[in-house]
Symmetry: C2
Subunit: 190 residues, 2 copies
């Protein structure tokens, strides 16, 4: 039996994307976006939606470049802080003791301590009401050597990303591997 | 020390969204989209990107309505199957033994056995190269009573969604709660 919750923004899992930008004075800033996801394979691109009231929105409209830093669970508190403070009057990196690193391919800072970094350039924007959407072409992905498997592939269990439960406002870890994609369902193929 | 992986579609966590549509003959179909996410709070909306070669793309362009059914881990094999078979010549629901249920607000089927359902109407489309993006306004969210907490809120730990590791093609469970959002970072506020 299902219960109806009406027109709500509910989905699982939701990410914790920390969006890094510089402001016009060159101060590094970062905020959290849970509204986003990969949106095309070619060009490789990722969408993030950001309210116009956010300092990041102002920065993005000026630079049109950003990073996404994906926190491991050990940085839960700092990632959460990036989502509840405004960068307009605060240097959030300094306040929570993390390191802004200038990206290689775009004019934007990333969080040096986080294990996964995407460097992105805005190629489209879309008016979606409360949250305009920024489509960022992914120019490079950087991942900590310590989060790679023996074959050199990024390994989710070592990255240990935060997962956001929007309905109870909780952060989760990832759990365990239960199967192989593009394989587990083969038994149903004729 | 970080290693560069170049321009790749990598992010964590990625979802397993099962996109349900009817074809022109009224046959229910469903496919998996990992490229997607919530994209605005008002109107409540969610983006999914779907290759033009997919049968779902053809269906969507005709009906402009779809559902997203979010599988729990117990339906990993069926969810995976929805991603590796084409609905053009196959009734995928029948092949894997799941129940297509006609949505209440849109002309699209959802997976009756999955715990979370979003009913969506396409309000915008965006050409993003390999994967055109469909923005669906969320008209209703339905969640299994068994996945609610004692206060009636949807509870991620009971929904038990699949999490997709794109770099190793693995499915994960969610793990454990480690903190409260909009709270864990307060200690860094001045």
């Amino acid at each position: 039996m299902k219960r109806s919750f009406g027109a709500r923004t509910i989905a699982y899992p939701l990410p914790v994307f920390v969006v890094g930008t510089y402001d016009s004075a060159g101060k590094p800033d970062a905020m959290v976006a849970a509204w986003g996801g990969i949106c095309s394979s070619d060009p490789p691109s990722i969408a993030v939606s950001i309210r116009p009231s956010r300092y990041t929105y102002k920065n993005l409209m000026e630079t049109m470049e950003f990073t996404i830093s994906i926190p491991s669970t050990s940085y839960m508190a700092q990632a959460d802080y990036f989502g509840i403070e405004s960068g307009e009057k605060t240097d959030k990196f300094a306040a929570c003791g993390l390191t802004p690193v200038r990206a290689d391919h775009v004019n934007a800072p990333y969080v040096g301590e986080f294990p996964v970094i995407l460097e992105c350039r805005v190629i489209k924007t879309l008016d979606l009401g409360a949250h305009p959407q920024f489509i960022g072409q992914i120019l490079d992905v950087k991942i900590d050597e310590s989060a790679l498997d023996p074959e050199g592939r990024p390994d989710l269990s070592k990255i240990n990303p935060l997962i956001f439960d929007v309905t109870r406002s909780e952060y989760y870890t990832a759990g365990r591997v239960i199967g192989k994609a593009f394989s587990a369902g083969r038994k149903y193929k004729k």
